[in-house]
C-alpha cells in the first residue's frame, strides 16, 4: 500500500539548527530508502511562495498565499510503500519534524479495475 506522509510544522520552529535538521533528514532518507519503503518525497519552499488557483464560473482566479492560513504549514512530503497503516505510522514517527510538528498519514487511493 502506498501512503503519503504530509509534514506539517511551523516555519522556522525547528527544534535544532538547519544544518542538524538536514543531517537528520538525510539519516531518515537513508533508513527509509534502505528498507525499500521510500518511493519519493520533497521539501517545499516556504509558504510565502505559495499561489492558490481556482476556476469559478470559467474564470481563472489567483490568490497570493496558501489554501489555508494556519500556524502549522505543509512543508514537505514523503511517498511511502508499506504493508499496512502501522508500518506507515512507524516510519512517520521517524520523520525528524514529527518531534515538533505533525505528520499526517494518508493512504493513496487505489482504483479497482
Amino acid at each position: 500500500m502506498q501512503f503519503l506522509a504530509l509534514i506539517y510544522a511551523g516555519e522556522n520552529q525547528d527544534d535544532v539548527d538547519m544544518e542538524t535538521l538536514i543531517a537528520q533528514y538525510q539519516v531518515f532518507d537513508g533508513q527509509a530508502g534502505g528498507a525499500g519503503v521510500l518511493l519519493g518525497g520533497n521539501a517545499l519552499e516556504a509558504v510565502s511562495t505559495a499561489t492558490s488557483v481556482r476556476v469559478r464560473g470559467g474564470t481563472f482566479e489567483l490568490t497570493d498565499g496558501p489554501f489555508a492560513e494556519t500556524k502549522e504549514q505543509l512543508g514537505g512530503y514523503y511517498l511511502l510503500d508499506c504493508k499496512d497503516l502501522d508500518e506507515a505510522l512507524g516510519w512517520a514517527a521517524k520523520i525528524p519534524s514529527a518531534r515538533y510538528g505533525t505528520i499526517e498519514v494518508r493512504p493513496v487511493m487505489v482504483f479497482d479495475q
Binding site: 500500500m1 501512503f3 508499506c82 504493508k83 499496512d84 497503516l85 502501522d86 506507515a88 505510522l89 512507524g90 493512504p107 487511493m109 479497482d112 479495475q113
Partner: protein
C-alpha cells in the same frame, strides 16, 4: 432477548472474527453472519438446535461469504476465496462438519477495532458491535444516543479500517505495549459505562458490565499479559460487589456501608487468582495496582479492618506510574481512613485548584470536613458536589448527607 438471539450473541464475536480473517472486510463478514443467523432462525426451530452452534453458524456463514466475494468480481478476492475453500476441505469427515472448534481470531479483531487511529467513541461502539454482538439499537440505548448516530459512528469506523490500511494483525512484541493500552481502555470504558447509572437504564447497563467482563476473560485466555490479567481482576472485584451497591430503599450504598455478606466470593476468588498470576510477571501497571487496591477492600471482612497503609502504598505507586490529581485525591482519602486525618485534609485542600470541577473532590472534601467537625465547611463542600452531580441517585445520596450535617450546626 429470546433463546436464539442469546445463542447468536454468544457465538458472534468468535465467528465474526474468523470471517473477517478470511474476508478482510468487517461489513462483508457481518452480512455473511447475518445471513447465517437468518438461516438458523428458520432451520433450528424445525430441525432442532445443533450441538455446536458456533461451528454451524461459522460453516454456513463461510459459504455465504464465498457467495458474496464471488459477487464482487474482484481479482483481489481470488486469494481470499482460495483460503476459505481450503478451510472447508480440511473438514473431511462429514459427521464432524458442524462440530469443530471455530478458530479464535478475536485478538486480531479487538486490536483492529481498538486501533488508536480510530477515535475512542468509535472504538467502543465498534467493539460492542463486532466482539460483543450487540446491535446498533442496543448500543444506542446503552449510551443514550440515537441509533442514527451510533450507526454512523460504526459505519465510519469500518470504512476507515478498510481504506486507511489498518491491518488485521496482532501487534508484534515491539508494538504491543503501544497498542494494548487502547484495547484495555475500551474494555474498561465499557465496564465503567455500566457503572454511571442513569434512571431506568440499569438493566441494559448491567449487560455492558457483563460484556466487558466476558471480553476481558476471553483476552486473558488469548494473551496472558499482566495488565490483561490486572484488568480482569479489577472488574471482577468491582462486579463482586454488584448486589451490595444498591438496595430497594437505597439506590446507592457506598463501600463503607455495604453489606459485605452480599459480595460474590467466587468472583473475588477468581479476581485473586488473576492478580496473583499477574504479579508473577513482575511488570506492574496501572490496572494491576488498581486491582490490588480492590483486592484489599475485598479481603476486609468489615470496613474498619481495611488495610489502609497498604492501600496508601499502592496509591503511591499508582501515582508514580500516572501522576494525576485524582490519584492524589484517592491517596489522601486512604491516608485519612488510615487515621492521618489532619494531614490528609491538608493534602485535599491543596488539590482544590486542580480538582474544583470534579464532583468526587467536593464529596470527599466534605466527608473529611465532617469528620473534623468543620460542619459549615462540610455543608459548603457537599453543596458544591450536589451542584456538579450528573445523576439523581448520586444527588439524592449527597442531599441526605447534607441534611445530616445541617443538624450539627
Amino acid at each position: 432477548m429470546d433463546s436464539l438471539a442469546r445463542i447468536f450473541r454468544a457465538a458472534s464475536g468468535q465467528v465474526l472474527a474468523s470471517l473477517v480473517y478470511f474476508s478482510r472486510d468487517i461489513q462483508l463478514a457481518e452480512d455473511a453472519l447475518q445471513d447465517a443467523c437468518e438461516q438458523a432462525s428458520k432451520k433450528w426451530p424445525v430441525q432442532g438446535v445443533p450441538e455446536n452452534t458456533a461451528a454451524w453458524l461459522h460453516l454456513v456463514a463461510k459459504r455465504k461469504l464465498i457467495d458474496k466475494l464471488r459477487q464482487q468480481h474482484s481479482r483481489q478476492n481470488q486469494h481470499k476465496l482460495r483460503l476459505i475453500e481450503e478451510s472447508l476441505y480440511t473438514l473431511s469427515d462429514t459427521s464432524a462438519e458442524t462440530d469443530y472448534a471455530v478458530p479464535d481470531e478475536r485478538l486480531r479483531l479487538i486490536f483492529t477495532c481498538c486501533h488508536p487511529a480510530l477515535n475512542e467513541a468509535a472504538q467502543v461502539a465498534l467493539t460492542l458491535r463486532t466482539l460483543c454482538g450487540l446491535d446498533v439499537r442496543e448500543i444506542a440505548r446503552a449510551y443514550l444516543l440515537s441509533e442514527a448516530a451510533i450507526g454512523q459512528r460504526i459505519t465510519r469506523a469500518k470504512k476507515k479500517i478498510k481504506d486507511a490500511g489498518i491491518s488485521y494483525e496482532i501487534p508484534d512484541a515491539e508494538h504491543l505495549n503501544i497498542r494494548l493500552p487502547s484495547v484495555l481502555k475500551v474494555i474498561y470504558l465499557i465496564y465503567n459505562e455500566s457503572y454511571s447509572a442513569y434512571e431506568g437504564q440499569s438493566l441494559t447497563r448491567q449487560d455492558l458490565a457483563d460484556e466487558a467482563i466476558r471480553l476481558s476473560l476471553a483476552m486473558v485466555k488469548l494473551i496472558p499479559h499482566p495488565e490483561v490479567l490486572g484488568l480482569a481482576a479489577l472488574m471482577l472485584f468491582h462486579d463482586a460487589r454488584r448486589l451490595s451497591r444498591s438496595s430497594v430503599i437505597e439506590p446507592y450504598i457506598p463501600l463503607e456501608q455495604q453489606n459485605r455478606r452480599l459480595w460474590d466470593l467466587a468472583k473475588i476468588a477468581q479476581g485473586d487468582a488473576y492478580i496473583n498470576q499477574a504479579m508473577e510477571y513482575k511488570q506492574p501497571g496501572p490496572y494491576q495496582v488498581q486491582a490490588a487496591i480492590s483486592a484489599l477492600h475485598s479481603k476486609a471482612k468489615i470496613w474498619d479492618v481495611t488495610d489502609w497503609p497498604q492501600i496508601q502504598l499502592l496509591y503511591m505507586s499508582l501515582y508514580q506510574i500516572h501522576p494525576s490529581p485524582v490519584i492524589a485525591l484517592n491517596l489522601a482519602i486512604a491516608k485519612a481512613n488510615g487515621g492521618h486525618l489532619t494531614k490528609a485534609y491538608a493534602d485535599v485542600v491543596a488539590l482544590s485548584n486542580e480538582l474544583h470541577q470534579y464532583q468526587p473532590y467536593h464529596a470527599a472534601r466534605g466527608e473529611l470536613e465532617g469528620r473534623l467537625n468543620l460542619y459549615k465547611e462540610a455543608i459548603s463542600s457537599i453543596s458544591g458536589a450536589i451542584s456538579l452531580s450528573k445523576n439523581s441517585t448520586e444527588r439524592d445520596f449527597l442531599i441526605k448527607k447534607r441534611e445530616k450535617l445541617i443538624k450539627y450546626v
